[in-house]
Amino acid sequence: MPLTSSDADNVQKWSPIVISALALWSAISVHGAEPGTLRPVLQEHCFKCHNAEKQKGGIDLTTFTDEKSVLKKFKVWQRVVEAVSNGEMPPDREKFPAPAGVALVQDVKRILARLDSDDPLVIDPGPSLVRRLSRAEYNFAMRDLTGLDMDFSVQFGMPSDSTGSSFENVAAALNLPPALLEKYFGAADLALVRLFGEADPAWDSKPDWARKPNAAQLKLARSAFFAGLPEAADRAASAKFVGQFARRAWRRTLEVTEVERLMKLYDAALAKGAAPRVALRQTLKPVLVSPEFLFRIELDRTPAKPVAGGRMAAGPVSDLELAVRLSFFLWSSIPDEELLRLAEANQLSQPAVLTAQVKRLLADDRAKRFTSGFFMNWLAANKVNEARPSTEFFPVFNDALKRAMRAEVEAFCENLRTEDRPVLDLIASDYTFVNGDLAKLYGLTGVTAKDVQRVALLPEQHRGGVLGMGAILASTSHTHRTSPTQRGKWVLEVLFGNPPPPPPANAGMFKDEKRSKEPKDFRDKLAQHASDPVCASCHAKLDPLGFALDNYNAIGEWRATSADLDTHGKLPTGEQLAGADDLRKLLWARRDQFVRNVIAQLLTYALGRELDYFDQGQITRIRAAAASEGDKLSALVLGVVNSYPFRHRRIMDEPADPTRKTTAAN
C-alpha cells in the first residue's frame, strides 16, 4: 500500500475524531499562551453551555481547576482542541476573537503534552485491585490444574461477565454473587469426583445433563494428576501432594501450617472411617473454592517511602506476581511449573529471562486463549453468530457459513501469533483463510475443504485484512441490507478506538417500506435522516466510511460500484472515498493510529482495567519500541509486559478521593 504523503500531512485531512493523541502531541506547539489565561477564556465563551447543569453535548468544562483536571479528562480536552481548531465551537464565532481561540488551543495542547512526558503527575501504575477470575479464566485455570477436558462454565451455566467493555476481564466489574459461588462448589465437586474416579450419582444418573468425559482423556488426566503420589500414600505423602496442588492453584508456596490446616479435613475423614483416597479428595476441595484460587490477589505492602501530595506510592511487582500477570495475560490461566520455578527463584524479572518466557508463552498452544480472549473480543468477531442477515434474503448465510466466517478471523489472528506477523496485517494482507463455502462467497477458486486454509490474495480480489472478512461485514448489517452507519461505527470504534457517542434517545430509524431499495433512495433516506443537526455531526463521520464498504453486500459478497451502487463518500475533512479499496488505502495511511489503538487494547486487556490519562504516555513508549521491531505481535506484547503499569503496582491504600472512583478519562 504505497502512500507518499507523510502521516503528519494526513492528520490534517483526516476526520478529527480519528486524530489520536499522538497526532495531537506531534503537532504540539511549545509556545503556550501565558499561564492562567485559560480560565477567563473558558468562563467567557464555554461555561454558559458546558457547565455541570446543562452539559451540552455531554461536556462539562467547569470541572477545570488546574492542569491535572485537564489531564484527567484528556479525551474531553482533546475534543475541545478539535472543536475550537476546526471552528465548530464556540457557536457564535463573531464574539470569539481569533487570538482567544489560538491561545486556548495552545494552552490545552501544552497541558496535554505532559501526558507523554516523565512528569511525576503522569507516572502511576493505576489501581490493581483484587479481581475474581473471569468466566474464561476460571475455566482454563480448572482445566490446567486438573487436566480435565471439560467446559466447567458451560456445564454449570456460569454467567458471562457483563463488563460494558469488549473484554471479559475488567477487574472492577467482576463480582461474586452467591449463585456463582454455589457453582464453584459444584464444579469443584465434579472435577474431583471425576479425577478420583468415584461414582457421582447426582451427575451420572443424568447422562444427558453433563457431557460424559472421554475415557481416554480422563485416563491421561488422572495419570498426570496423580503422578508422584504413591498408590498407598501415607499421611506425609498425602500432605505433600496437597501442598503441591495448592501451590499451583494458589500460585504460591504454602507454609507448613497452611497445609496442616487443610490436612485437618484429611484426618477428620479418616477418623470417620473414610478410605484414604476419599479423605484426600475431601482435602483438595477447599483449595478450589478458596479466594486464593478464585481471585487474583496481590498482597498489600507498606509503602517504601512516604508519599507527598496525594500521589500514589508504587513499587515493582514481585516475580511471583509478575508470573501470574503474565500467565493470565497470555494463557488466561495459572502459571505452569516453569514460570512458577523461575518466579520462586526470583529470576523471572531478569530481562533476558522475561523475554524468553514471553516468547515461550506466546508460542505455546495455551496462547490460543489469547487469540480468543483478546483478538476475537476486540474485533467483535464472535458477533457473527448473532448476525442479522436472514436466510430469507440470503439463503447461503447458514450456520456453517457463519462458523467459517468466525474461523477465518480466528485462523488469521492465530497466524499473527504463531508466525509473529506485524499487526498491520489486520488492515492490509495478501492472504486470508477460507474454506470451500467462504471461498465461493468471496469468489476465490481452488478451495473446497471444510476447514479454513490459507490462501494468497491478489489486489483485484478485494480481500485481505479484517475489512474484507465476512464475520465483520455480516455482523454490521441488517436483516436484508447493509448498514453503512454500523460499519462506519465499527471502523472508528474497533480499529481506531474512537467510538462515536451513542445516538440520542429519540433517534428514529428511517422507514422501511420497500423490499429492495435503489441505493440512491437509501442514500437519500439516510441523508435526510442525518440532516437533523443532532445526528449530522456523527453521521458525517460514520456514513462515508460505511458507504465505501457497500462494495460488500450484507453478508460480505463483493459487488462492483455501478450505476446502481454508489459507494462514494466524502469525509468531513475533505477526503474522497470511491469504495472499499480506497478505504483500505486510508486505513494504511492511518496505520500509526491503528497500531496505537492495538497497543491501547492490549494494555487494557493485560491490565484488566480501562486505561486512564496516566497510561497514554505508555502507549507512545510501547509504540516507539515496537516500531523498531516492525510492529510484530511479539514486540507489542513485550512492550506491554515491560511497561510501567504491568511491572508496578500501587502499594498503599487509595486516598479518600472521590474523583478516583469514576473513570477519569471520558
Binding site: 463480582n175 465437586d189 447426582a202 444418573s205 473454592v289 486464593e292 490477589i297 498489600d300 423490499r515
Partner: protein, 476 residues
C-alpha cells in the same frame, strides 16, 4: 455406622433416587428455626419482556372493569378476572456512562434515581425482587431465582449493595440448582399447617460445613493483609460463603419436611418439565432466530418458575423473557424486517404518527406473541390446587417490559398484575394513574404485599412525577 449409609436410607425414605454430593454427611445436629406455616405463602413472579410495547394495543381506552381486551392482551381473555392493568407508570432516573437500553434496563426493577456503569460494572439501587428476597427469601430454599437471557445490557436485578445479580439462562441448570440430588416435592400445605412443626435440625459438623469454616478462616486472615478496596472484594466472598452455608443448612432442615409431604401428598400436582432431551447449549443460537425454539424456551422457563413456586424452592422469581436481538420470521407477517431491535426503532418515534406503521404493527405482533406465552403460564398456575386456593391465587405476577416502548421510552410502561395476591389486589380492572407516576410506587405496593413495609423505594418519592405519596391507591 457409616454416616453415608444413614444418609442413603434417609433419602430413600424421602423419595429421592440419588445421593447428595453437596451434603457429604449428616453428623451432629443443632436447631434450625423454621417459620410456622398457616397457609401457602405468597409468591412474587416477574415476567418481563424486551422491547417495550405498542401501548395503543396494550391498554384499554377506559379505566374500570375489563371489557374486551386490547389485541396484545387478548390471549389473557380467559383469566380476565384475575388481571389488574395499571397505566401511567414511568421511570425518571438519570444515567451516566450507559446507553439507552442499559438506562432503561438498570432502572426497570429498581426505580433508581440514578444508574451507571462504574469501572465497567452495572450499578443501581436494589431491585424490587432482591428487596423482597432479602426479606422473605429466608423461608424458602433459595432467596430468589433469576431466569432468562438477561445480562450484558439487560441487567435488571441488583442486590442491596448495588451489584448486579446474574441470570440463569439454562433451564436444566436451574432445575439442578433447586433439586440437585433430590426429587421435587410439592409441600402439602394443609398437613404442614395442621402439624406441630418441630424445629428442624441441622448438622454443624458435616464435611461441607468444615470446608466452609476452613475457607472462611483463610479469607479472614487474608483480609487483614489487604487494603480497603481489596477488602470489599473479599467481603463479597464472605457474604456469598454465608449464603452457601445457609442454603446447606436449610436443605438439611427441608429434607425432613419433604419426606413427610412425600408420604402424605397434598393436592398440588407437580408440573412436568420436559427437560430430558433439552439441550440449551445446542439451542442457544437458534433461539434468536427461530420463534418456535424461542417459544419453547420461554415456556420451559415459565414452567421452571411454576415448579419453583410450587415446590417452595423460592418465593421470588424474575424471568427476563425475549431478546431485542431476536428475529421473528413467521410471527411478524408484515413488511420485510424481522429483527426485533430494528423494528422497535422503526416502529417508534417522538410522535406515534411519525413512526413507521408497518414496523409498529410488527412490534404489536411480537408482543401479542409474548402475551400468548405468558397466558400459557397463567393458565397452568390457575389449575394448580394448593388446597382450596390455586397457585395463581397465592401469587402476584407482574407482566411488563424493561422499556415503555421500543424507542427507549420510559413513560407509560405496560404494567399488568395477574393473580390477586391472596386477596390483596382487586383484579378484573384497569386503574389509571396520573402521567409520570413513578413505577417505584408499584414496587412499594408489591413489597407491602410480600410483607416488606418500606416508606419509599427507589425514586418513589423523589421521581420527577412523584405522586400519591409514593403509593398506588385503590389497588384493593
Amino acid at each position: 455406622m457409616n454416616p453415608n449409609l444413614n444418609r442413603r436410607h434417609f433419602l430413600r425414605g424421602a423419595g429421592a433416587l440419588v445421593a447428595l454430593p453437596f451434603l457429604e454427611s449428616l453428623g451432629r445436629v443443632s436447631a434450625f428455626a423454621a417459620a410456622p406455616v398457616m397457609r401457602p405463602p405468597l409468591r412474587m413472579g416477574i415476567f418481563t419482556v424486551t422491547g417495550g410495547t405498542v401501548l395503543e394495543s396494550w391498554k384499554c381506552a377506559l379505566a374500570g372493569p375489563l371489557g374486551t381486551l386490547p389485541s396484545i392482551l387478548r390471549p389473557l381473555d380467559f383469566c380476565k378476572d384475575d388481571l389488574l392493568i395499571l397505566t401511567g407508570l414511568a421511570q425518571s432516573g438519570d444515567s451516566e456512562n450507559v446507553n439507552g437500553h442499559e438506562h432503561c434496563a438498570f432502572t426497570h426493577l429498581t426505580g433508581a434515581p440514578k444508574v451507571k456503569r462504574l469501572g465497567g460494572r452495572a450499578s443501581a439501587s436494589v431491585s424490587v425482587d432482591q428487596a423482597a428476597a432479602s426479606a422473605v427469601g429466608g423461608d424458602s430454599l433459595l432467596p430468589s431465582l433469576e431466569l432468562g437471557l438477561a445480562g450484558h445490557e439487560n441487567v435488571y436485578s441488583f442486590r442491596p449493595d448495588g451489584t448486579p445479580v446474574p441470570y440463569e439462562d439454562d433451564p436444566k441448570l436451574v432445575f439442578d440448582r433447586m433439586f440437585r440430588g433430590r426429587q421435587p416435592v410439592a409441600p402439602n400445605w394443609a398437613r404442614r399447617a395442621g402439624s406441630q412443626m418441630q424445629p428442624a435440625t441441622v448438622s454443624r459438623d458435616s464435611y461441607e460445613q468444615s470446608v466452609i469454616d476452613l475457607v472462611r478462616e483463610n479469607t479472614t486472615a487474608l483480609n487483614r493483609r489487604l487494603g480497603r478496596a481489596d477488602q470489599q472484594k473479599l467481603d463479597e466472598y464472605l457474604t456469598s460463603i454465608r449464603s452457601v452455608e445457609t442454603r446447606l443448612q436449610k436443605l438439611q432442615a427441608r429434607l425432613k419436611e419433604e419426606a413427610l409431604d412425600a408420604a402424605q401428598p397434598g393436592p398440588s400436582k407437580l408440573i412436568d418439565l420436559p427437560l430430558a432431551d433439552y439441550s440449551f447449549a445446542k439451542l442457544r443460537n437458534s433461539i434468536h432466530r427461530d420463534p418456535e425454539k424461542h417459544a419453547q424456551y420461554i415456556s420451559l422457563m415459565a414452567d421452571v418458575m411454576i415448579l419453583a413456586f410450587q415446590t417452595d424452592s423460592t418465593r421470588v422469581c424474575t424471568f427476563a423473557a425475549g431478546s431485542d436481538e431476536a428475529s421473528f420470521p413467521g410471527v411478524v407477517t408484515v413488511g420485510y424486517e424481522r429483527h426485533c431491535h430494528t423494528l422497535e426503532h422503526q416502529g417508534n418515534a417522538g410522535r406515534v404518527e411519525d413512526a413507521d406503521p408497518i414496523s409498529r404493527e410488527a412490534c404489536r405482533q411480537i408482543h401479542a406473541w409474548y402475551t400468548s406465552l405468558f397466558a400459557e403460564m397463567v393458565r397452568k398456575m390457575k389449575t394448580i390446587d394448593e388446597g382450596g386456593s390455586t397457585l395463581l391465587d397465592n401469587s402476584m405476577l407482574l407482566y411488563t417490559s424493561y422499556m415503555a416502548d421500543g424507542g427507549h421510552g420510559r413513560e407509560d410502561y405496560p404494567v399488568l398484575l395477574a393473580g390477586n395476591a391472596q386477596g390483596t389486589l382487586k383484579t378484573g380492572r384497569q386503574v389509571d394513574f396520573q402521567k409520570k407516576t413513578p413505577a417505584a410506587n408499584l414496587y412499594v405496593e408489591m413489597l407491602d404485599r410480600m410483607g416488606v413495609k418500606v416508606a419509599e423505594f427507589g425514586n418513589s418519592k423523589t421521581g420527577r412525577g412523584a405522586a400519591y405519596n409514593g403509593r398506588l391507591p385503590g389497588l384493593v
